[in-house]
């Protein structure tokens, strides 16, 4: 077939596709884009084989590429469903990565527990973990005799602290995840140090008998914050493990798969930390609430969080 008659024959199709591409959002609404795509590919292959002019091939090539990009464009509405993400995918991915979660939990909790007990029984041990000034500051914060717990904080301060918790805690979680790329060692270190720090503070304050100020303060948001840190460590460990033991894949592909699978966990972690920041800023700091209420609400939160995190098993044995 001569090039000119070929062009004449298909001109209309090409123009239709061009019109389709020029209008925004029309490709996804068109039922014929797959058909168009197949035709275009065929036309391009034919014109290459028949050695038609470079100009024509260039035009068809561009058209194919534009259509291809439009077909595979990221669409927020179709691929990002918040409901299924948090109701299903996050718990499911926790369930799938339960071994990582367990390891992360152990690395986080065991050193914390040990250092906590040690510091509880040994007066001077705290200074081998924390700075003198840091210890004084923490003591001042939770001192029952201090005025801070006596009166209600101002709303402005609450909002500032909310911002601070968002900025600081979520960044820590993100770094804990990213550090997993260093063969998992980074995540382990972050978990270990956080565990040590929290355990030591708890042990020290318990020894000083600041129980009524410290535990009611941390119990509620701890349900979200501590679990989220463990999860971010687990996600990081997954990355590191993919490099160390890639299984049937190349290391690179294993890493890619791990990265992709860790995404629902990251979304979940962000959600949990936002909730934690909210509670920490507006609920935990409140001084007028009786301690019993705080413990009750904290207990309910722990129960719900654990229930939620263990709910992944229902969604499929994998």
């Amino acid at each position: 077939m001569k090039q000119q008659s070929f062009e004449q024959q298909h001109q209309q199709t090409w123009e239709e596709i061009e019109r389709l591409l020029d209008k925004p959002n029309s490709v996804e609404n068109s039922s014929r884009c797959a058909e168009h795509y197949m035709h275009l590919c065929q036309h391009l292959a034919l014109s290459k084989q028949r050695l038609y002019d470079a100009a024509l091939i260039e035009r068809l090539n561009k058209l194919v590429m534009r259509l291809y990009r439009e077909i595979y464009r990221y669409r927020s509405e179709s691929r990002f469903n918040l409901y299924t993400l948090f109701a299903r995918e996050f718990p499911l991915s926790l369930y799938r990565h339960r071994y990582f979660v367990v390891v992360a939990l152990l690395v986080f909790a065991l050193p914390g527990l040990i250092s906590g007990l040690w510091i509880f029984f040994d007066e001077t041990a705290i200074y081998s973990v924390l700075d003198f000034t840091d210890v004084r500051q923490i003591e001042k914060m939770y001192d029952p005799a201090a005025s801070k717990f006596g009166r209600e904080r101002e709303s402005e301060t609450d909002i500032m602290m909310f911002g601070f918790y968002i900025q600081n805690n979520i960044s820590v979680a993100f770094r804990c995840f990213a550090a997993g790329l260093l063969l998992g060692i980074g995540s382990l270190l972050v978990l270990l140090f956080n565990g040590l720090h929290i355990g030591s503070v708890a042990g020290h304050l318990t020894r000083l008998d600041y129980v009524d100020t410290f535990y009611p303060f941390v119990v509620t948001h701890g349900a979200f914050e501590l679990t989220a840190i463990v999860f971010s460590g687990a996600a990081g460990l997954k990355l590191g493990y993919a490099i160390l033991n890639p299984g049937p894949y190349s290391r690179l592909n294993a890493l890619r798969l791990a990265g992709r699978e860790a995404i629902p966990m990251l979304y979940g972690i962000v959600l949990m930390l936002v909730i934690a920041a909210f509670i920490e800023a507006f609920w935990s700091s409140s001084a007028s609430l009786p301690i019993s209420v705080k413990y009750t609400v904290g207990g309910i939160c722990w129960f719900l969080v654990l229930l939620y995190c263990f709910s992944g098993k229902r969604f499929g044995p994998r």
Binding site: D53, N61, Y74, G163, F164, A262, I263
Partner: protein, 227 residues
Amino acid sequence: MLLDTSYRVEIPGGIELEAQVVGPVPRFLAFAIDFMIRGVMLLVAGIASIPFGELGTGFWLIFWFFIEWFYPVLFEVFWRGQTPGKKVLGISVVQDDLTPISFGASLVRNLLRTVDFLPFFYLFGLITMVSNERFQRLGDLAAGTLVISIRETAKPAAVTDISPLAPPTTLSRTEQTALVDFLQRSQQLSRPRQEELASILDEITHSGSETRVEQLHRIGAWFLGVR
């Protein structure tokens, strides 16, 4: 295997997509521009938040969080793979099958920036970038993304004042393109060099009143679609 910056993917339909991967120099500059923009945004927001006291500080901290982690993600996903810095340099992030970047991949790529940043200002990132031929940093490797150039090369103006000449033989696509280039770049090629080049193609020109160069120009015009 010739050294080349182009990256090819075969897409459904047997078509090959080609893109030029982008190395550390343009990416460094793009990052520097983004870095400055982010800095200015934070500074302006910080100054604006001073009168609002602690309330302002709270919002500024949240703003900082978003700028730090989501500035690149949001731009890459909703602005065709480009942050403002990348836009200036004409580069863009895509998946490694050359489809537009997805939200998840962009998130992974930008969270792992933390590791690329170690131990001092993107040193790991730079080292990984030059140690693989697609110039992917660690975050790119894990997310399966790469940075390509999307700047269109300016096409020379079409030549119309030349009468076309049908080629005496069938020519492949590269050969056609070379003839078209020969015509379009004739302005910047010196005459002796043009003659030298034309003399290579002695087989497809004929010895007539016209010079070889002119004959090749006319064939080039034919392939440009002039009839």
